[in-house]
Amino acid sequence: MIHPNILEINLDDLSFDIYKDDTVFENYLGGIGVGMELLRKHLKKGIDPLSPDNTVIFSLGPLNSFFPVASKTCAVFKSPLTGNLGETYAGGRLSTAMRFNDLGAVILKGKAENPIYLVSHENEVKFYNALPLRYMYPNTAGRIIREKIRRPGNRSVITIGPAGERLIPYACATVDRTRHFGRMGLGAVLGSKNIKGIAIIGDKPISLDANTEYKEYRKMFREVYKKVTETDLMAKYHVLGTAAGILPLNALKSLPTRNFKESTFDDAELISGEFFAQELLGKRVACGGCPIGCIHLAILRERWEKGSVADIHSISVPYDYELIYALGSNLQIGDGADILKLIEAVEREGMDAITTGVVLGWLAEAYEKNIISPKDTKGALIRFGVIEDFLNLIPRISKANPEEELYCVASKGVEALVERYGGDDFGIRVGKVEPAGYSTGPYAITGFLIGGRHSHLDNAGYSLDQKILNKPISNEEGINRLIIEEEWRNVLNSLVICLFARGVYDIDTTVKSLSSLKIERTADELTQLGKEIQKRRLEFKKQEGFKLEEAYKKLPKRFTEMMTAHGHVKKADLDDLYSLYQKETKKRYEIVI
């Protein structure tokens, strides 16, 4: 088993320490398991997420770089969006850079006096003045940092944009230009610590004789690689990418449209994965150590505002299902190239694209319903289907100018908008998080609600909704399946594999893969670990004041009004699922949240 280092950086005095803590990796494997344990050790209870007291932890797991598609890095912190557990994952080359720099975790504490970016390589951490990079787009700053490093090969750069520097609570952190720690406001937390960028360089070889059962490891690698590339378990990701979901979900009446008012979109074909691939896709690229290459980069041709027909340039814009839903169907934007423009606008500010899309959806509906007036919008029009309106709003929200109250409030998310202006019924948020794009039915909603980070990826309720379309299950069984799924995903998130490969890393493959790395865990021990991690996530949430009942009561009425793959979701069913979950958590984790 590999015993990586922990790099702990104290930003208050720009000092750092590199040390081992083998026990934490032995007990919790890595990723979210290690992240939760380190959070327990390094984060004080009840702190302000945007104060120097917050701690950010990036962590790898045992499979990273050793196995295909184990390409994610986990980040945990206290979220400024929810005031509670912040948990988000990113791909790119970060996990490989950390691995080859012998880092299993990076802990960031305190606050730098002035804006900095930092570069970690071997036993060094260098701090550079980032004041001249103020308010640069994430990718501009990333390019500058890469040029400063002047070192090709395995390096990874995390940067924040203007939104992060202005502490917008749903600012993201961009990794290697196309990937993101998208959710829950890591960008703002880094901004609050005066960190514009983090670069990790890794080029240290790791002995396979010392860290693996070499023969067994090569055999397992081959087996996993074959499953990844030669079966259909991951085929959809490399062909159309996640955008493959648009048409099937639309056909199921599950594609959120016009701020979740509708669940089918007339122009679905024009924003489908098929359309993007045919008309806009420029190339596909991969995260380090993933042969799939799900990163779809489209070419966006942009004409200059007052130029001739030849005054044009083209840029490369990554797209995915969630972005197409949030900035496309949800805003009634039915043109692929227009969606790319919105994605690019969000990328430049460095904001969470899902939250931004849902915030814009609320604004458009509130404007339509006269809940907000032209006085509030400072004369700006906010209309569904009108790209210019939204393009105008994105930088204004990111700026959060105190003289523009509406945009200031919008920069804090849907919960804040609803508290200030009303419109609660169509304020789409669950546990203060704007949800991903699945109006599939009761389990998607319940999954968002009970998930540790209120993400569709916590327990895949949206997937359960689809699986049971023709074979209904009892609410008891449904809740049970969500719980079991979330616990198992805690294990996968400790490895840290990309969840797109969840079908590849079944329990048997996981046990054998770990064993080839000299980590002996039985299937039962792994499921126990998943359960323990879940308990810790819930305990953390409770400690920081999360109340499930409150979140449940705040579910927008829209969820029972909108059409889903299961028809209209009944309030009685949601009530029942909620009570069953409360009962089950009490029994299972001995906790009432």
């Binding site: 395995n154 070889p205 790791i206 002995s207 396979l208 070499y214 690698f221 042969p291």
Partner: protein
């Protein structure tokens, strides 16, 4: 006829780096992105294409005659070279092989072990190239 490695569809490269890891895994018993005889780099950023750098498998390799250490690097039948790790010692030469190779990066000196690292035409990387950038070819042509 003996075969050699060919970068057949360079533009298809998605930058997954599996070829690099495979080379290190199979030939060096390492998990490494550096001690590998094949390299991938972004040419002008991720928006542009990737470049794969590896020995071209010359049948008359320019890196061989310049080596001052007898037997350290010898031609391989059908193209390419074989480095004898027992004999090669980069501390005892001026890295003439690196200089002589017209393809920058195709042969490099590993700073840790002070040996020349160059493809030995084992073709393991080809099996782990999901986009068929790499292929095995008959050694024909002028080089």
């Amino acid at each position: 006829m003996t075969k050699r490695l060919r970068v057949k569809n360079l533009d298809r490269c998605i930058g997954c780096l599996e070829c690099i890891y495979t080379c290190a895994r199979v030939n060096e018993r390492l998990l490494s992105n550096y001690r590998s005889s094949i390299h991938v780099k972004a040419s002008g950023g991720i928006e542009r294409n990737y470049v794969v750098i590896v020995c071209r498998g010359c049948r008359n390799p320019p890196c061989v005659p310049v080596c001052p250490i007898q037997g350290a690097i010898t031609p391989r039948e059908g193209g390419g070279v074989i480095v004898d790790r027992e004999i090669c010692n980069a501390k005892q030469c001026n890295h003439e092989c690196v200089d002589a190779c017209p393809i920058p990066g195709a042969i490099h000196i590993d700073v840790d072990i002070q040996k020349a690292i160059v493809c030995r035409q084992c073709f393991s990387c080809v099996q782990f190239c999901s986009t068929e950038v790499l292929a095995i070819e008959e050694a024909t042509g002028e080089w």
